[in-house]
């Protein structure tokens, strides 16, 4: 049996009078890529905050057996006064890893995400897509076992978004980190994940679960197959019904 990296048991969360999450049960296997799809304001981000320990459930419990968590936010959250390289080294610096090791790791990651030509640039000079790559790279340096993605590509144009989806999928196929990926794009969820949970509008509850049958590494063309469209339609129907 595969190891569970993180489990939510009957988790509810309320902020004052507002119930954000109600009775949520999730378990994520080691190496699984789980996508959470739902309308805006359904508490998907709250799930990530609870998973990372930034927040706590009001009811129920969250258990995780890894401390190596990477968090990628919707905005790139780069530090504008640091070059791309210095940004990528930042988290490792916080963890007080040896400077030489940081350098080596950063170099490898910079190459992996294709930022060689931009490593000495400041974020001000970067496009949105490049910033997101740098943000991703910053988390990768610490080799997290659990990756939390909070709509990381939501602010990008569709073309860049599609390209970064492919890059992230390849990265996942290579590193096999466990992932919780929040998005409100059904297409993005299906292309990236091995399983999709569909959330209702507030209070967020799970309304559907889909196993995505496509094998990794996925070809970017699968997004235009009829099989993909059919699955996408099924997910979309549930999403529409409960939003």
């Amino acid at each position: 049996m595969t190891e569970k990296i993180i489990t939510f048991e009957n988790v509810s969360k309320s902020f004052g009078a507002i119930t954000a999450l109600e009775n949520v049960n999730i378990s994520v296997d080691q190496g699984e890529f789980l996508a959470l799809v739902g309308p805006s304001g359904c508490g998907k981000s709250t799930i990530l905050r609870i998973a990372s320990g930034l927040d706590y459930p009001s009811l129920g419990s969250m258990n995780t057996n890894t401390k190596k968590v990477g968090y990628v936010f919707q905005d790139s959250t780069l530090m504008p006064w640091r070059t791309v390289r210095k940004n990528i080294e930042f988290l490792a610096e916080l963890e007080k890893i040896d400077k030489k090791i940081i350098k080596k790791k950063a170099n490898a990651i910079i190459e992996l995400v294709g930022l060689q030509d931009f490593s000495e640039h400041y974020p001000i000079a970067l496009s949105g897509g490049m910033k997101m790559r740098a943000s991703l790279a910053r988390s990768l340096v610490l080799e997290p076992e659990l990756f939390l993605f909070d709509e990381p590509f939501g602010a990008l144009d569709l073309i860049t978004r599609g390209r970064l989806n492919v890059e992230l999928m390849q990265l996942y196929n290579y590193k096999k980190f466990t992932s919780l990926f929040v998005t409100h794009s059904v297409e993005e969820a299906l292309f990236l994940s091995s399983r999709v949970l569909v959330f209702s509008g507030r209070p967020g509850t799970i309304k559907g679960e889909f196993v995505v049958p496509f094998k990794y590494p996925r070809d970017s063309g699968i997004r235009y197959t009829s099989e993909f469209a059919e699955l996408s339609g099924e997910v979309g129907k549930i999403l529409e019904k409960f939003s």
Binding site: S52, P80, L94, I124
Partner: protein, 262 residues
């Protein structure tokens, strides 16, 4: 490099010529010869102020003293202002406790306060510096505080996820984030510091004579030429300081800060 500077200088220079033209017109076209002492022509202002050795030396010495007081005062205002803002950024209750008093320094009628400061601290350097600190500290506190509180929640969360200490959060996130705003505050305060030192001077009327005291002496003697020269020098000092801080701001944070990149 040189050509754009010349190009940029043309519009303000045109304004200068127009103003000088109006100035001459008023002196020779509007005022009767007996009343010309009210607005002497530009060339005699420049002659009296900068080519008569006695006046020139007075004004240059005044400029030096005013600059010195302004800079010492600004330095102290920066140290106190930065520390205050840093304290305020550490806890809401500290911010709430200090904020009204920071506003107080801004709203206090400095002219009323200057004589009291003289009584308490004498009429020399120290009292002048205190006036400068009071008048210039507010923009430093407010701008620095805005910067320190400006980093996004996500960036703070990122540090929380890595169990960062208060110290790490301040030095690695909040202070660097605040640098552009700090320069904005400093630039505004630098101008105020010069005004403060001139105002202090003007009212103390004793001790070492900076530009403020010269202004007072010249105006009491109806020396319009020297009065206007000294005023002009005071303005030039203000402009120079403003430009210098703009320049340093661009040099130090212009390569990464949106606000300072132009």
């Amino acid at each position: 490099m040189i050509v754009p500077i010349i190009k940029k200088s043309i519009p303000p220079l045109l304004v200068l010529f127009v103003v000088i033209g109006i100035h001459y017109f008023i002196t020779y076209g509007v005022l009767e010869p007996t009343r010309r002492f009210l607005l002497p022509p530009p060339h005699s202002i420049i002659y009296e102020g900068f080519f008569v050795p006695k006046h020139r030396d007075e004004i240059l010495k005044g400029l030096f003293l005013t600059t010195r007081v302004s800079f010492i005062g600004l330095g102290i205002a920066f140290i106190i202002g930065f520390t205050t803002a840093l304290l305020m950024s550490q806890a809401k209750w500290i911010e709430r406790s200090l904020y009204p008093w920071a506003v107080f320094t801004q709203t206090v009628p400095i002219l009323a306060l200057v004589p009291i400061i003289g009584f308490w601290f004498g009429f020399d350097m120290l009292a002048r510096i205190i006036v400068v600190v009071i008048i210039s500290i507010f923009p430093i506190i407010i701008n620095t505080l805005t910067g320190l509180n400006g980093a996004s929640k996500n960036l703070h969360d990122l540090l929380t996820l890595h169990d960062s200490s208060r110290w790490t959060r301040a030095t690695k996130l909040m202070i660097p984030y605040a640098l552009p705003d700090m320069f904005t505050g400093l630039r505004t305060s630098a101008g105020l510091a010069i005004i403060g030192s001139i105002v202090g001077d003007f009212f103390f009327g004793r001790g070492s004579p900076g530009l403020g005291m010269l202004l007072k002496v010249y105006s009491s003697r109806l020396r319009t030429e020297e009065l206007l020269s000294a005023t002009f020098v005071a303005c030039l000092l203000g402009v120079t300081v403003f430009w210098s801080f703009s320049y340093f701001g661009r040099r130090l944070v212009g390569h990464w800060s949106e606000a300072w990149s132009k």
